[in-house]
Symmetry: C2
Subunit: 642 residues, 2 copies
């Protein structure tokens, strides 16, 4: 409104989407300065020179001018894209960080427990939740039947519902004389079962026809998924997801733990996660005429660090030798302990942790596999996220370990890597030389490559001889697709014209090295775990995979690059987000919850860091598919045939 | 300080001891006006004319002048006594209400579970409380033993203390990583046992040599008794008592319930009781270098109305047909629910209620009798306070009822009646005609007569023919001790010269009628209960009496007046404050607590109001000792002999 010239120290407001972070910054600063001040996870490889294009953002609101840069094609400029490092803040701005825009609910929660996957599941689909609603009529007292209010209520539960043992909270008791008489003894009870006894956690006068609900939540390091469950029938009626807002304090668990050690850091991380979960709960219910007070039950799963931060418990000992979490099995917690916006009398269950790097995502995830119900066979379950976690065994015994796979297969540390969401290349093939044939999630122009696409890409590069077994680029074979720039040597895999960003999509030698390191970490962990147990890969009955690859991962290609062992392909099953669906199964029935608790009790946790053979195994795996080609006979045949 | 003349509407402050009630009142009002404004329980029979002396008070601080009145002897005036109705407030005053001064701790808690009484007790004296303190050393984690903090702690409890199942509160878990490392794994735990499982309710870093404590409390309608118990050995190390500050809102349970129905009334009553219990806790610990945070366990007993008010639960349905309390067995409550100033993580147990007029004072009190441990014999237990409560039965069956005995035997509704405390005549005999021989508690000049003294007095008046069997005064026999004033006909029992107040102590015909009504209510309740069961008094193995009579109650005289049945005197035992000692036994061991819970479950509660025979029985008992002299053969013999 004011026409006075802008003073040098005048402040403008910048809001970043999807983080909802706002901050004030002096006029003349760049958007990149604001990003850095807000501690948002945007890195630039050119150091802010406007050449790499890493800091691309989209300005949704506010006026701005972008300085000169060749890194941003004209068509993107027209759509409001700009480079943060070259754009001065001279107005209040709302800025979208595109890298984080692309993650859609669909991509995260697809797959899951489809009808066809149900056959694998250890958990039961019987709906027998620990929290239930009853509408009852308590008889009025008479001189002949002058039992106390609570006793008459308890007798009604015995006589009409067979609930032999029940008790109630002080707050309920306090209101009981009143609510029993308000509607002639008609009351609606919410009960929570704990072993053989039921506890009345809420009592409402009259018959309340409204349903009650549960929520189930997967707390990922990067993303959160919240499911809303109707406690009438156990149906998952809504699923929403969002970013773990802690991202701005660090992208992986180690940097989060470091952040938590700062003064006030733990509190800040805890607030971020609770606030976002509360947002997602609100989002899940807002269109359905449901109040958060109608939510009486919540189940959570997540890795060990995420659960500590969610519970506001100091995680520092997780990353310090000898790497111990605060707890394994998690005691019952009340919503008000955590500030969770569900009914204050509601019940929270969190899946148990096994060790510092094998968390509740794995224990809950096991419910989505047949591991916990089969006795004779031996199964392997592997969850690949930023870390890889492995479990081997069956109903009788379980051994587990974690490996630092790194985020390569989630798209991290890879120039054109991205999560398995809209715009991601999810499968990839070369035809006619280096002509790319690919499939993009949601059919958009490709923005990047997700895990399953990267597996395909690496396998295709290798099998066609464009890269050597050690990952170095075979310049002679690549010919005109070869490129070299500030980032290093690379291969153009999709031409600029085809790409969403209007720039060549390049895989660099460094990206390839990162992918190889990741696959080596995972393979060597599997291999070492089996060796410790005196078992070969062939002894495995099945191999269950979960994580953020994208649903169409090619097992053949994963074997080709040596990520997974060269065993019968029919033994492989990809299950999607098992942490979320395991958490959902826990909510459905306490049998599932007890199964998980028992499994976690008997899991033997092996700390790979302390295994002297691990580095040997790892080094031997840093080739495509492996230094020992004898381990990958079918790939050997393929290479010889090729 | 100011010399300006006092304005008519100038206010002065009056504080009443022992109620700690302060209020401002215009200069020129009387102390009686202030008493009325403060709703304190002082009544006058002369209507404030300065003739009855009922409103005698002692001014401890402040200047005052008393108007003329014959009712206050000079010696008392010199001691600062004055009549509230005749004393204007012209200065800030601190005023002691003497009637309520006399109750001393000693009198209330005397007797109890003496060594000689222990043989009666159903409860165990084994010390096995539900809350205990352990000092433990949790091993540091190593790569080989990298269990979580909680798990290592739980394993220590298993290995060193045989505690197989333990869990912890969220707040403990939250601090565990820190406190385990602060003193090399040395920590002090407070554990609470619930059935087979222990819950860690507090954890302190290092070895804490301080003891932990419990409190046990009898919540009486008039008085509160708080005992402090060392949880190391179960010893009762301090006992304090005070008034139930609710007295100013009504003297008996019915008037308290009426008060609770006013807007804000329940809240006010609850605050009064909690505040006074907190005061007494403070008083119990202040000289002993104990903090209220060292108190982790509390047991309470009290009548049904008191427990409702203590728990802030609406008591209105107690006094309305069909007379139902909110609950019988009382769920676990946290100190912060009630605002009780003990450790916030502490445990509270309240003895169970049977019906609206048979409360936790009775159920806990049963522990102090052999009723709950004997199978073959039949016992009667009777607690006489403002109400009389009766229990008959043994380990296998229990029947109970209450009767509105009125407060006569506690000194209420009797002109010179008073509680069994310093200055009370506790035993009484006539010698040489109407010459009184009496024993006064603490050897003072007599101030009044307590329950045991009133029993003696009534028996002596009757047996010597000074009163008729219907309670009317035999003027001819009483001769010069006969008196008649505004209150009615009376007998001078102690001359003015001997009395503390310097006035004749008179028992009026009206007092005698009240005593007869009380004894009739109790006897007829006992009698009806037995008739309902088809049992005679002779079938009773023993007859246990508790209440505020005073410890030297003469059973012979109680039988003479027809309060108790004419059975073998050796069957009678007076036990003192069984509510308090029962509550203490509950604290000692959960076996006792469970015994009480189980007993309360199987007690059959008979509502006398609904028994058509009760009024007949009662009317027949309104004679001394009874209309049917055949029921009192030994008294018949005595009368004929006399």
């Amino acid at each position: 409104m004011s026409n006075t010239p802008k003073a040098k120290d005048e402040l403008k407001n910048v809001t970043f989407i999807p983080f909802n972070v706002s901050l004030s910054i002096p006029v003349g600063s760049t958007i990149l300065d604001a990003i850095k001040n807000a501690n948002l996870p945007v890195t630039t490889s050119c150091g802010g020179k406007g050449t790499c294009g890493d800091c691309i953002v989209q300005v949704l609101k506010g006026k701005y001018t972008m300085g000169t840069s060749a890194a941003l094609p004209e068509n993107l400029r027209k759509q409001g894209y700009t480079l943060a490092c070259k754009t001065e803040v001279n107005d209040d701005l709302v800025v979208q960080l595109p890298k984080f825009k692309q993650l859609s609910v669909k991509a995260i929660t697809d797959i899951g427990i489809s009808e066809s996957n149900r056959k694998f599941v250890s958990g039961t689909f019987e709906f027998e939740p620990l929290v239930k609603k009853l509408e009852i009529k308590v008889p009025e007292p008479t001189l002949e039947n002058n039992y106390s209010d609570l006793k008459r209520l308890q007798l009604t539960l015995i006589n009409k519902f067979g609930i032999k043992k029940s008790d109630c909270e002080y707050n309920i008791l306090k209101s009981l004389p009143h609510i029993l008489r308000e509607n002639d003894g008609h009351i609606t009870l919410i009960l929570f079962r704990s072993e053989e006894s039921w506890k009345i956690i809420d009592a409402i006068s009259g018959i309340n026809r409204k349903n009650i609900y549960g929520i189930t939540c997967d707390i990922g390091t990067t993303t959160l998924v919240v499911g809303l469950v109707d406690l009438k029938d156990g149906k998952l009626i809504n699923t929403v997801s969002g970013f773990n807002q802690q991202i701005k304090c660090g992208e992986d668990v180690i940097s989060r733990i470091n952040y938590a050690e700062r003064p006030g850091g733990l509190h800040e991380l805890n607030e971020l996660i609770i606030k976002e979960i509360n947002n997602l709960i609100q989002k899940a219910i807002e269109s359905l005429d449901i109040s958060c007070n109608d939510i009486y039950y919540a189940t959570f799963s997540g890795n060990t660090t995420m659960i500590h931060l969610f519970m506001n418990i100091d995680p520092r000992h997780i990353r310090k030798e000898p790497y111990v979490p605060a707890m394994n099995k998690i005691p019952l917690i009340s919503p008000w302990h955590l500030g969770l916006k569900i009914n204050n009398e509601g019940i929270i269950h969190i899946s148990p942790l096994v060790g510092s790097y094998v968390g509740g995502d794995i224990t809950a995830g096991l419910l989505c596999t047949p591991v916990l119900k089969s006795k004779g066979k031996i199964f392997m379950f592997i969850d690949i996220g930023t870390n890889g976690e492995l479990v081997i065994g069956n109903k009788n015994w379980l051994v587990t370990c974690a490996c630092s796979a790194g985020p390569a297969f989630e798209g991290g540390l890879i120039k054109f890597g991205m999560p398995a969401s809209a715009g991601a290349i999810e499968s990839f093939k070369f035809t006619n030389g280096l002509k790319a044939q690919y499939k993009v999630i949601d059919g958009l122009k490709p923005k990047g490559v997700c895990g399953s696409g990267l597996v395909d890409l690496l396998a295709e590069l290798f099998i066609n001889g464009y890269i050597e077994r050690n990952g170095s680029i075979n310049k002679d074979k690549v010919k005109d697709k070869y490129t070299r720039d500030d980032t290093g040597k690379g291969i153009i895999i999709v031409d600029a014209a085809e790409c969403f960003w209007g720039r060549d999509m390049i895989i660099y030698e460094n990206d390839i090295a990162n992918l190889i390191r990741s696959k080596a970490a995972i393979y060597s962990a599997c291999s070492l775990l089996l060796k410790n147990l005196g078992i070969t890969f062939d002894s495995l009955d099945s191999f269950y995979i979960s994580g953020g690859f994208g649903k169409n991962i090619s097992i053949e290609n994963a074997i080709t690059i040596g990520l997974f062992p060269d065993i019968n392909r029919r033994k492989y099953f990809y299950l999607g987000n098992t942490s979320f669906y395991g958490s959902y199964l826990m909510l459905l029935s306490d049998k599932n919850k007890n199964m998980v608790d028992m499994a976690s009790e008997k899991m033997t946790y092996i700390e790979l860091n302390t295994e002297p053979d691990y580095m040997n195994e790892y080094s031997a795996s840093l080739f495509l598919p492996h230094t020992n080609m004898g381990l990958f006979p079918s790939i050997n045949v393929l290479l010889k045939r090729g």
